[in-house]
Subunit: 336 residues, 2 copies
Amino acid sequence: MNIKDIAKISGVGISTVSRVLNNSGVVSDATRARVLSVVKQHNYVPNSNARNLKKTQSNTIALMVKGISNPFFANMIKEVERQVHLRGCPLMIQQVEDGVDEIAAAMQLIKEKNLYGVIFMGGTYDHSEEEFRQLGVPFVLTTITTMKEVDPSAFSSVSIDDVTSAYKATSYLISLGHRNICFLARFPFMENTIGNRRLLGYKKALEEHGIEYDPAFVEDCEYAPSFGFAAAKRLLSKNLGVTAMFAASDAIAIGAAKAVLSSGLSIPGDVSIVGFDGIEMAEYYHPSLDTISQPGVEMAHVSVEILFDLIAGETANRHVVFESMLVKRGSSRKVN
Amino acid sequence: MNIKDIAKISGVGISTVSRVLNNSGVVSDATRARVLSVVKQHNYVPNSNARNLKKTQSNTIALMVKGISNPFFANMIKEVERQVHLRGCPLMIQQVEDGVDEIAAAMQLIKEKNLYGVIFMGGTYDHSEEEFRQLGVPFVLTTITTMKEVDPSAFSSVSIDDVTSAYKATSYLISLGHRNICFLARFPFMENTIGNRRLLGYKKALEEHGIEYDPAFVEDCEYAPSFGFAAAKRLLSKNLGVTAMFAASDAIAIGAAKAVLSSGLSIPGDVSIVGFDGIEMAEYYHPSLDTISQPGVEMAHVSVEILFDLIAGETANRHVVFESMLVKRGSSRKVN
DNA sequence: TAACACCATCGAATCGTTTCGATACACATC
DNA sequence: GATGTGTATCGAAACGATTCGATGGTGTTA
C-alpha cells in the first residue's frame, strides 16, 4: 500500500495525495476529503524512508546520552521523549560509552539518517568549535561541560551553574557550624568535568570561610550508591573527624548515608549529608536527604524547546542556565 | 557525498561500491582496498533512508516502553540499548502513555520506518492473537502480561513468574511468623495485570498457611515511592496490627519504609518489609530492603537475543521465564 | 583455436516519496 | 473572440541506495 495505490483508488494523481498528506499546495475540499477517507480506510502510513530520501531530511531526533539508567537522566529522558513525541517526531537514543567520541558518533547518525536534530545529555566534551559546527544540524547540549573554550554562538545549552550550586551546598554546611566537610564526586583525568566544577564551588566556600582545603577530605567515586558507599567508608576509616559530607549526586549520597549509618553513626546526629540532583529516592530515604535540586524536567523541556526553535529556523543559539535549589530536609543539623 | 561520488573517485561502478560496503558479491582485493580507502578518506556514510527504501527494510529496532524512568526499566533499557547497538542497529524509543494502544502505535512505526523488530516492555496488553500477528515484524514481549489468552506460538516473551514470586515473598514473611501482612501494588481496572498476578501469589501463600485473606490489608498504589508512602500511611492508620508489608516494587517499598520509619516505628523491629525488583537503591536503603530480585539485565539481554534470532529467520517463538530470587537483607525479622 | 567457464565489473531499473513545471478548465476583462 | 488570471490537478524527475542481467576479459580445455 503506497501513495500510488492511494492515488489510484481515490482517482487522483500522486502529487495530489502528497499535497493532501502534507497540507501543502491547494487541494479542493472534496478531493481532500475523498483522499483522506481512502487513506484512513486502508490504514495507509507514508513510508518515511522514501519521504526522507526525497527531502534529504528526516524528522527523527537523536538523544546521545551518557548513562541512561542514572535516575536523574532517566527522568530527563522521559520528558525529552514526551516532548519530542508531542511534536510528532520519533526519538532515537544512543548511549555513549566512556571513551567514544560523542560528536563523531552523532555525525555518523546524522549522515546516515538525515537527522532533524540532536540533544546531547551529560558528560564532558572535549571538542573544538570547528567540530561542533561540522554537525550541520540543530543541537543542544544539556547538562554538559566542555573542556575547550568554545564560542557560545556555536552551540546552545541547558545547564545549571555547578560551581555556584556546590558553593551553596558547602556554605550551607559551614553555616551550620561544620568545618570538617567531605566532598564526594567523580574526578576523571580530565579538566572541567562536573566533578571538578563542583569541587571549585566546594573549595570556594571553604576559602571564603577561612577553612583550609585538605585533599584528604575529597574522595573520587562514580555516581552510584555502591561507589558512594565505598568512598564514604574510606573516608570514615581515615578518622578525620568528619561531621558533614557533600555528595555530587543523590545516588552517591544514598550510598554514603548507608556507610555512615551502618558504621553505627547517625544522620544527622553524627554526620550531616547533602546530596545533589533532587531525585525522588533521596526524599524517601530515611532520613530524607538534603540536596541541591536541579529542575530536571524543566531542563529537558527547555532543551527540546530550544532544539525545535533552531529547527524552525531560529539562528541565535541560546544558553539557559537554571537555578538549582537547596532543599533542606532531614539530613543536616547545626553543630556547636 | 553519495555512492556515486565514491564510485567516480574510486574509478569503479556504483554497484561495485555497493558490493564492497555490503560484503556481497565478488570484488577483487585491490578494488576493495581502493574503494574502502576512498570511503574512509571522505568519511562517507551510506544514507540509510535510501538503503532502507530500496530494501524495504531498515535496521532500526524500536522499544515501546511504559515509563522510561522507572528504575527497574531504566536498567533494562540501558542493556537493551547496549545489546542493540552492539549489533550495529539504531534504537528508537517510544513511551506508551496510559490508554494508548501499544500495538497500534508500533504498527504505525513499523509501516513508517520499515522497522527491523520491536521490543515491548512493561504493562498489560489487551490484544488478540490476530493483532499480534498483524505486526508483521519480529517482536518480543518483555515483562508484559496479556489479558487475552493468546496462542504462545504467536509471540515471544521474557518474564518472571509473578504469581510464584509473590508467593515466595509472602511465604517468607509467614515463615518468619507474620500473620498480618499487607500487600501494596497497583490494581488498575483490568484483569491479569502484574499487580493482580502478584496478588494471586500473595493470596495463595496466605491460604496455604491458613491465614484468611482480608482486603483491608491490600492497598492500591502506583509504582513510585510517593505512592508507596501514602499507601503505607493509610494502612498504618487503619490500626490493623500490621507486622509486615510486601510491596510489588522496590520503589513502593522505599516509600512504605519511609512511612513506617517516620511514624516512629522501626524496621524490621516493628514492621518487616519485602520489596520487588532488586534495584540498587533498595540495597542502599537503611536498613537494606529485602526483595524479590528480577534479573533485569539478563532479561533485557535475552530479549534482544530472541529478537535477533527471529530477525535471522528463526521461526519458533520462545518464552523465557526467569527465576526470581528472594534476597534477604535487613528489613525482615522473625516474630514471636 | 574455438568453445566455455569464471571472475570482476558495469548500468539500468527500482524502492516510495516530494516537488516543479506544465496543463486544462472556468471565468473575467478588454 | 483574444487574452489574462486563478484554481485544481497531473506527470516526470529526483533523492541515494540495491540488485539483477549483461558484458568483457582471462584462463582452461578439448
